[in-house]
């Protein structure tokens, strides 16, 4: 979160070393892939070799189509996720304030968080037509219900004595909200965001296969129509790398930092 969350390792280049150790098996896998493909003379329509994939990848980078697809996908994910967080967190907290209300609404939210994402694709395409609206709606949906449910859960796990103590010390409603409820629920909220985005990312790929003409999912599906396996493999790698970077370098550290900083509230 802040600068003090960064730890400086006494060993120089420790981070680089760890990154190398992380990359080594993957590089080995690439080598293995090339060896197997050449050794068994695999039909490139079934599985292409490494240089072919690299060439295909380079050509999509060169003509700018990769940037367009990745940009479109990331833009949809960001819009959907931000909208969902902005609406889900206040709603979750409002519901979580009262025990009775939260118990009442929990089954509803469980039901809808189950449906989250992919199951909405058919009806979303009908409501919004094929394109940005439908896909953003699917992503919004995937994130919204998971985050709202987790916020609700987070607020309801804050020990009552804490809230009573704040009230007894004369905290206003606003202070209770910003100093007890929000910080207390924060670890759950962040976990919810991470889970929700995991569903959203998959939902995005599925939705783009069905309902658009730009984006990573579309890139995959278009390549399939022309049996261009090398483009498919390249797009799969791009999808994997983007999600890995997003999850490991953004969401997981965020989750860890909030749990370390605010997670104390839950231990009692």
């Amino acid at each position: 979160m802040s600068a003090d969350g960064v730890t400086f390792s006494p060993v120089p280049y420790a981070r680089t070393w760890r990154a190398l150790k992380f990359m080594a098996p993957l590089l080995l896998l690439v080598v293995l892939w090339q060896v197997v493909v050449t050794a068994f003379d695999v039909n490139p329509r079934i599985f292409p070799d490494v240089p072919t994939v690299l060439r295909a990848g380079w050509s999509t980078i060169e003509d700018g189509s990769l940037a367009a697809h990745v940009g479109a996908s990331l833009w949809r994910v960001s819009v959907g996720t931000v909208l969902a967080i902005l609406t889900a967190v206040p709603l979750g907290i409002a519901m979580g304030v009262s025990r009775g209300v939260s118990d009442f609404l929990t089954p509803l939210f469980r039901f809808f968080s189950v449906l989250a994402g992919i199951a909405w694709i058919p009806i979303a395409t009908l409501w919004f037509g094929y394109g940005f609206g439908a896909i953003t709606f699917v992503i919004f949906n995937a994130v919204f219900f998971v985050v709202a449910y987790n916020t609700l859960l987070g607020v309801s796990t804050i020990p009552m004595p804490l809230r009573h103590a704040a009230a007894a010390l004369g905290a206003s409603r606003w202070q209770t909200l910003t100093e007890i409820l929000l910080p207390g629920a924060l670890p759950n909220i962040v976990t919810g965001i991470r889970t929700g985005m995991g569903f959203a990312w998959r939902g995005l790929i599925a939705a783009e296969m069905i309902a658009t003409n730009v984006g990573l999912g579309y890139m995959l599906f278009l390549a399939r129509d022309f049996y261009r396996t090398e483009v498919i493999v390249f797009a799969m790698i791009v999808i994997g790398v983007i999600w890995l970077v997003l999850d490991r370098f953004l969401l997981a550290p965020l989750e860890r930092a909030t749990v370390e900083r605010w997670g104390l509230v839950q231990q009692s």
């Binding site: 089954p107 809808f112 058919p122 998959r202 790929i205 799969m236 999850d247």
Partner: protein, 269 residues
């Protein structure tokens, strides 16, 4: 307002007596609002059908036997895929969890393949296996596999070394340590992984059925979308939601809670 409070009072009293009610009653106001919105016809009826239309459609689908057939197809695919996924995932997770070298080597690969995500495999699977059962089974196995493997490994590594050493110094063989210390200690994590994996697998199945499209609930919904029948889509969504709700909260969540209570102690501080 007072009427509302007295209704709330009744609700509180009845759910205190029958807790199962709490899982159903909250849907009543939701359905009422839905019916009201549909009745107002703010949105055209083709876009937002009322609950009664949907129930009629569901009855029709049930009567024709389509719904039950498709449901059986979806469930069978999920069950087969999940069983195969688990059969591969748990031994693999145990192996990776036991062996430090295997762990260092395979962890990045596991993370990467999990990140690719099931649905991104669909196009290439279609090239390999065509539109059919193999493609769908592969997707589900793939989806279930990774959460279970990753969680099994995490669980095995979170068992405190002290416990293993204690068993060892009391003369337990490696096999006994595995079956009586490490595996029970990892069980809560394995179950959590299973629950996540099935959750992802369920969604992957829907996507696969929409795209591959031969039968199943996902196919039902997308076919209805092509025909413009919103009622059928809504029926499909409700069936999906109810089914998963039942599986998750009456089957998986209790198992998770039970194992957590029974075996979770091992990892507790």
């Amino acid at each position: 307002m007072i009427a509302l409070y007295s209704i709330w009072g009744y609700y509180a009293r009845w759910t205190a007596r029958w807790p199962a009610l709490a899982a159903f009653v909250p849907f009543i106001p939701l359905i009422a609002i839905w019916a009201f919105l549909a009745w107002l016809e703010i949105f055209p009826r083709v876009f937002l059908p009322g609950p009664i239309d949907v129930v009629e459609k569901a009855w029709e689908l049930l009567y024709k036997g389509i719904l039950t057939d498709y449901l059986a197809d979806s469930l069978a695919r999920l069950a087969v895929g999940a069983a195969a996924g688990m059969a591969i995932a748990i031994p693999l997770g145990v192996f990776v969890g036991l062996n430090k070298k295997a762990h260092d080597f395979s962890w990045p690969i596991l993370l990467f393949f999990q990140a690719i995500g099931d649905i991104a495999w669909l196009p290439i699977l279609l090239v390999w296996f065509g539109f059919g059962l193999t493609t769908m089974t592969f997707v589900i196995v793939y989806t279930v596999l990774f959460p279970v493997v990753l969680n099994t490994v995490l669980g095995m590594r979170s068992v405190k070394p002290d416990l293993r050493r204690a068993a060892q110094s009391l003369g337990a063989s490696p096999a006994r340590i595995l079956f009586e210390v490490t595996l029970p200690g990892a069980l809560p994590n394995i179950i959590t992984g299973l629950r996540n994996g099935l959750g992802y697998g369920w969604r992957a199945l829907i996507a696969a059925e929409i795209i591959v499209g031969t039968s199943g609930i996902g196919f039902l919904m997308f076919d209805a979308r092509r025909a413009g029948s919103v009622e059928e889509i809504v029926v499909g969504m409700i069936v999906l939601g109810v089914l998963w709700y039942i599986v998750d909260s009456w089957l998986l969540a209790p198992i998770e809670r039970a194992t957590g209570q029974r075996w979770g102690l091992v990892t507790a501080r």
